[in-house]
């Protein structure tokens, strides 16, 4: 998703810099790729930077990643704007990504979505007022066999029902 102007301004207001420990983690990834192909580490590096900054990336952090990897800054922006796993605007503490593709839809993901929206009182691509949850509609998560599915932060929740959604959210609250 391309960041909006407001989003970019907000991002610029956040002064977080890539920490030394994050750089060390990125360096560990760099050892897995050929030396002259430092660019290969951009995806894990962006994840590391994002995790460190409460789930989203600022332009400053992307610049830090680019400078650390010694690649052009715009090459990092290309990657971070291409993949939906990177957030370029502030997000909630938890990211709820629910699949509405074919298999999930046939297994009534609509009910799951309706319950999520009702409980969180937000629509897709919105964040709750308390900053706890961001709701996302995503494409296939690759777990069709157990549809409907959602990804909550890093955890897959499968064979969902509205009741299961209540329970999962309840455990978080």
């Amino acid at each position: 998703m391309v960041a909006t102007r407001e989003g970019q301004q907000m991002a610029n207001a956040n002064k977080a810099r890539l920490s030394d420990s994050a750089k060390a983690e990125i360096d560990a990834w760099l050892t897995k790729y050929p030396q002259e192909q430092r660019r290969s580490a951009v995806i894990p590096a962006l994840h590391i930077a994002q995790d460190e900054n409460k789930g989203w990336l600022t332009t400053q952090l992307m610049d830090d990643v680019a400078d650390h990897l010694q690649i052009p800054r715009v090459s990092v922006y290309e990657v971070s704007t291409f993949y939906s796993m990177y957030d370029l605007e502030k997000v909630g503490t938890h990211k709820v990504c629910v699949c509405t593709n074919l298999s999930c839809m046939l297994s009534d993901s609509d009910a799951v979505v309706a319950r999520l929206k009702e409980k969180l009182k937000i629509d897709f691509n919105e964040t709750t007022a308390d900053g706890k949850f961001t709701l996302r509609e995503v494409e296939c998560l690759g777990a069709c066999v157990n549809a409907p599915v959602m990804l909550l932060d890093r955890t897959y929740h499968e064979k969902l029902t509205p009741e299961k959604v209540d329970k999962i959210l309840g455990e978080l609250e």
Partner: protein, 790 residues
Amino acid sequence: MKIEIEIDGKKLQVEQNSMIIEAADNAGITVPRFCYHKKLSIAANCRMCLVDVEKSRKPLPACATPVTEGMVVRTRSKLALEAQKSVMEFLLVNHPLDCPICDQGGQCELQDIALGYGADASRYDQGKRSVADKNLGSLIATDMTRCIHCTRCVRFGTEIAGITEMGSIGRGESTEIGTYVEKSLSSEMSANIIDLCPVGALTNKPFRFRARAWEVLQARGVSAHDCVGSNLHIHHRRNKIMRVVPKENEAINETWISDRDRFSCEGLHSEDRVTTPMIKRHGQWEQVDWQTALHVAVEGLQTIAQTQSPSHIGALASSNATLEELYLLQKLMRGIGTNNVDHRVRQSDFHYQQATALMPTLPVAIADIEQQDLIIYIGGHPQFEQPLINHRIRKARDNGATVIMINPVDLKHNFDVSDKLIVANPLLPRALTAICRALSEQNPDAKTSAQELLQSVTADDKHQQLAKQLLAADNSLILLGAIAQHHQQGGLLHGLATLMASLGNSRVGLLTPGANATGAWFAGAIPHRGPAGLNVAKPGLDVKRMWESQLPAYLLLNLEPEHDCANSQRALKALHNADLVICVTPYKTAAMEQYADVILPMAPFTETSGTFINIEGKWQSFTAAVTAQGESRPAWKVLRVLGNLLELDGFNYVASTEITDELQALTANINSDQQINKWRYPSQLPAVNNGIERITYWPIYRSDNVVRRSVPLQNTPISDAPVIAMSQTLAEELTLKAGEDVVVSQVDTSITLPVKIDNRIAGNVVYIPAGFAETAALYESFGSVNIERK
């Protein structure tokens, strides 16, 4: 190896590893395309070049399908045309129908191809996507809604400009081409993306809405700003220059030109242009007719020649003057009876002028730079001095060449330097001598007369290693940049580079400032040699001595000494004290109004016919694109009439081509046995001053009078206001902080500049730009300075 293929029924012999589109292009068969460009990598993302290949189940992109033996291709079969038309329809889905207000209209690849492959009306009736425009700076206007994502501009940045600033942001339908963060492009060749863009997404900002492509007339021109001599097409309408675009010449500029070549034309119509002759009477400027002005000039020159001596007159020219102008200038001076004529205005050291070749040239063709195995670049910043030579060096690097920089400042280049030697500026001669010593140790067979000098220095491991690399290379080239040429020991550096070449089986080339330094040497605009290198009995004064002698009369051609000369303050002093200063110039400056007595308005390079000899020795003649503004006249005509009025022989030319022919005939006179290239090396290096030394450089957009007046170029991110740059160590020693204003003084003048900390500068050296009003008050461009807190 050649193989046989067939395209549209034509049997063709083509290179084995080529793509279908290259084979078709070479055979004159048109395949529509947007993303393919012969100078860029293959992206195959527009799909416009789909063609029908026999035995293939579906159409294939001609740009990304290699030819194979016996391949049969049809570019206009039913299958091919259907595929091409479908692609066209998709490309037009989101493209706005705004051709009437689009600057690209009439010269647009999309428009042209849509005419051949598009449908009459669109079947798409939903809303079109719109994209916010980006601000890419003062040179390039954007209308990103028109973008078809061919990515030519993105690939240009990475592959040609060497700086990746544009990218594909987002994905799928929301893909946008841009910089993500607002950013002006900082490449010195950035505006080539205007030509590359097949639609109206990226257009020429200063030219915007100025003229339609079909209204302009096209004239051929040659770049007047660097020694490459890039070929130009100058577009003009109703006798006014509208814009400049590249003219393809594979041997010189390929399909590119630098931004300086493209946008300098914006300075041609500056308010500073003088369009009527002017004389100063009782301290007041008066506009007069040519006859009066010429009369005053001639009378002044005659009086000084008769009452004092012809040798009390000095003539100085810019190296951007044409061959014909420079030839007539020296003919005029030598006709009056003096050899005081020079164009080397930025040079500080003239000690070895007799030893240099007849004219500075590259030992290889410009295009062959990319074939070198090793290039040593001494003193300078090729990217911002000679952008298209730098492009060739960059290509050499891409081809696997070793590129070594020997510089007093660890400058940033748009390619990875293989190795570098960064030494404090005053120690540059020592470093080169040490490399020579290492070379002579490693290559004992090579004889040299400089043994005593070589024994006076020691070569460390680094010098030995550089010498080893030079000796190991079969095809190597040593290039001298602006810092090396303008250095206070510039003559010695040239000599040492020549010694390096002879000991290291290499060759030396100079990258001279201005468009026609080679032509100036050939024309004889130097005090110690006549046209075509003819010996003169008694050499005249060189630039430095002309200023130091404070002559009573100066004749300046296309020159603004306060911005163009090495020792600008010395020049200003001499001019102020002179009895007569005649300026043949397209522009006036505030300082000129003070020191000049006669201003004769001359036509700049677009308004005169002439010839430039580029650094590979190629003569390129051009005619005037438009007639001279107002009363201004081509300088060769002005000089011709001056010659006539001074009653000198041989000034009866009717056309500038007669002068060119006369010079052409002189090429036969070049005597190869002349006493040149016999360097007499000193037995030891000159002592090094321990104080703070100044390095002066001319920023790319302050390089000459036309460029300095181009407002769009002055507004680019590479046009910084003048600062005094120094290392952290030196700043600490002087207890100065970044951004603080300091007083920089030389002899009896001082200026105030803000401090910039730049740790790339070696030693007790400060880096100060020239070509600014702020820095004109300083003396020697390479010499000691005093720095004090304000």
